[in-house]
Amino acid sequence: MDLSFGPRYEAFRHELREFIAAHLEQAPRVTESRVLNPRDPQLLAWQRLLVEHGYAGRTIPREYGGYGAAPDMLEARIIAEEFATAGVSPGISGQGIMMLIPTLLEFGTEEQRRRFIAPTLRGELVWCQGYSEPNAGSDLASLKTRAVLDGDEWVINGQKIWTSTAHLADWMFCLVRTEPAAPKHKGISFLLLPMTSPGLEVRPLKTMTGDASFNEVFFTDVRIPADSMVAGRGDGWRVANSLLGHERGMLGNPNVTLARFNALVELLKRETVDGRPLLEQAALRERLLRIQGRMLALRANDLRVLSARLNGSNAALAAMIVKLEGTELRHELERLAIDALGELGVLYRGSPHLREDGLWQQHYMYFLGLIIGGGTSQIQKNIIAERGLGMPREPGLK
């Protein structure tokens, strides 16, 4: 057990802190709405600066526009922690950088890598992910959008749903059925296509938070070149799965939860009812402390998972429970803030007396969305039972 990062990493951390301090006036803050807009000029300039200094795209090879450093989880952790502590944007995230670039590095052709990775990393190409369909959510492998080869073109018909940023994206990477005769997991391929393709229509989906952060995408005889495929025909399921684990791990991030917890404590100190600070109410305090206990367990768990990845030891179950526990905990944490605020807690965007831009309510609802999305809590429990505890699958399930 050694909780220090060691001198080399502390030097790296120091250097990064100095970089952030030196560029603070250029840096978009996480409280600014611009960080949600992938076309914002200041954000794009910031991204280029980060890439240049190796604080974004750090491990992407230089020939594809990255910094070319060796993968190092502690460096990655330090980068995440320092940007979070400074309240400064860590650059563009989004599914192009988080999902597509790793996919192309693992499965793409040399030509695909050269064409797509550098502009994606610089934020010049914005991507969206076309996986879910109306009747293929938890059961993603039963997706029905089909692509048929017609000469040297794929002709795509069907519908995607829950496609975040589709309304802003230049390109989409998606899963489509190309081998209708194969078993359901074997008939899927991974395609890349421009959002300007004729026959492609995007319809925004408003969510309960009031934001239209998701879309439906309709394909009617959309034609793309035959070489738009990553890996081979029928390899799509394997390609997609190699990255899904990463996405799940991010959804219950205990460092973000800690920041929200601290904000909640400040709220309970600052706000009063009948003239007394909320923190004096024992029933609220008891709930706060219960949340803190669960949160500290998840933070320690996070260190354990990171450490196990570093030294190659096994913490599979510890990693597997993060999304389930982390999203449920966040939902409860935001709920407590709303409850503590009483009637003030129900105010929402645009209201007088609104606290913190309505973020407590927004997160409360958004985290219910995350409990559902990326594998519902029910699916997570299946996975934990089957893969984590070795319990048998339900008989007769397709």
């Binding site: 059961d139 007088p352 609802m365 559902i372 029910q378």
Partner: protein, 360 residues
């Protein structure tokens, strides 16, 4: 012994449900929620035509002279249909305030206008279930000074205002020195706001004991809010069961998965006893004075907890579809969410119940 609804009460509820399906379907609710200028007048008009505003008012003032349980059934139906309507304040609390604290002249002046639905009255009581931001209103010499936050039905024609000293006052919306502003809440099916009084003339409701009238208003408000949540949660459970019965994943309807069934069973197990709890709490306000306050606190707090559980779980059963605006399920989610916080949070209501029993 007959613990249940009379056939008249079942009929009242069914009539209301049919009416609301007709005049206030989801598209109509959406229009109200998305458009601040929409006062929902024709919904209130339709409810007025079947006598809803006068439900609790004595027959000598033109009302139906029914009981609190009948009113709770109306609140439940309105919750189930997320209906925009100034029912709780104008048809339950304002008539009660006039009955308990109004003079004969005040009753004669106001009750017929309330019964017809022509006049609506909002309620400014929130400072007495927890004052935020040092708000509160002071009454002196027939004038009010101060600020009331979380005023129910801010679009009303007049307001009942509880001052710091617990006295009640009637103020027309156009009174001199009165400013009103709307608040935006998550629940756009009802309109809350704030009132600022700058030496505003007001008409005192001065009969009887002010503190006990105010306590009765809060108790009635709590039971009506609980009933609204009951209706909304019952709708969400039914919607979840129906959706699970048609949505297919892994080659079968998800209602056949034990995990989904158990989520629905847990909702039903928690929610089903709430019907009887709300009935009892409502009936007690008319007939069992010794238990009325305790049950009002518990109905409010317990429905807040069960409602929150059902709202979350029913949304989960709907999967991504529950998270979008498409089915409109979030209107119920948010209605339950607002009900939880008004007339005192669950913690507050439980602490009141504890005090009433000498536990605190």
């Amino acid at each position: 012994m007959d613990f249940g609804l009379s056939s008249d009460q079942v009929l009242l509820h069914d009539t209301l449900v049919r009416l609301l399906e007709d005049v206030a379907p989801l598209e109509r609710v959406r229009a109200y929620a998305e458009n601040d200028d929409d006062g929902g007048a024709e919904i209130w008009q339709a409810l007025s035509e079947i006598g809803v505003p006068g439900l609790l008012v004595d027959e000598r003032h033109g009302g139906a002279g029914l009981g609190v349980l009948d009113a709770a059934l109306v609140a439940q139906a309105l919750g189930a249909h997320v209906t925009p309507a100034p029912f709780v304040a104008s048809a339950v609390l304002a008539p009660l305030a006039l009955r308990l604290a109004g003079s004969a002249e005040q009753q004669a002046a106001w009750l017929p206008r309330l019964v017809s639905g022509a006049t609506t009255v909002g309620m400014a009581l929130a400072e007495h279930t927890g004052a935020r931001e040092d708000t509160g209103v002071t009454a002196r010499d027939g004038r009010l000074v101060g600020r009331a936050l979380f005023v129910q039905d801010i679009d009303a024609d007049a307001f009942v205002v509880a001052a710091r000293d617990r006295t009640l006052h009637l103020v027309p919306a156009d009174a001199a020195g009165l400013t009103r502003a709307s608040l935006v809440t998550i629940d756009r099916t009802r309109r809350w706001g704030e009132l600022v009084f700058e030496n505003t003339p007001a008409e005192p409701l001065a009969q009887g004991d002010a503190a006990s009238t105010l306590a009765a208003l809060v108790d009635h408000g709590r039971v009506m809010t609980a009933a609204d949540t009951l209706g909304a949660a019952q709708h969400m459970l039914e919607a979840a069961v129906a959706y699970a019965g048609q949505r297919e994943q892994f080659g079968r309807v998800i209602a056949s998965f034990q995990a989904v069934k158990h989520l629905c069973a847990e909702m039903a197990a928690a929610l089903e006893p709430c019907h009887a709890l709300v009935w009892y709490a409502a009936h007690a306000l008319d007939a069992v004075p010794g238990e009325a306050h305790l049950y009002a606190c518990h109905a409010k707090a317990h429905l807040a907890e069960v409602g929150t559980q059902v709202a979350k779980t029913a949304t989960e059963v709907h999967g991504g579809m529950g998270f979008t605006d498409l089915l409109g399920l979030h209107y119920w989610f948010k209605r339950i969410g607002l009900n939880r916080q008004t007339f005192g949070s669950p913690e507050r209501a439980r602490e009141d119940a504890a005090r009433a029993q000498g536990f605190a």
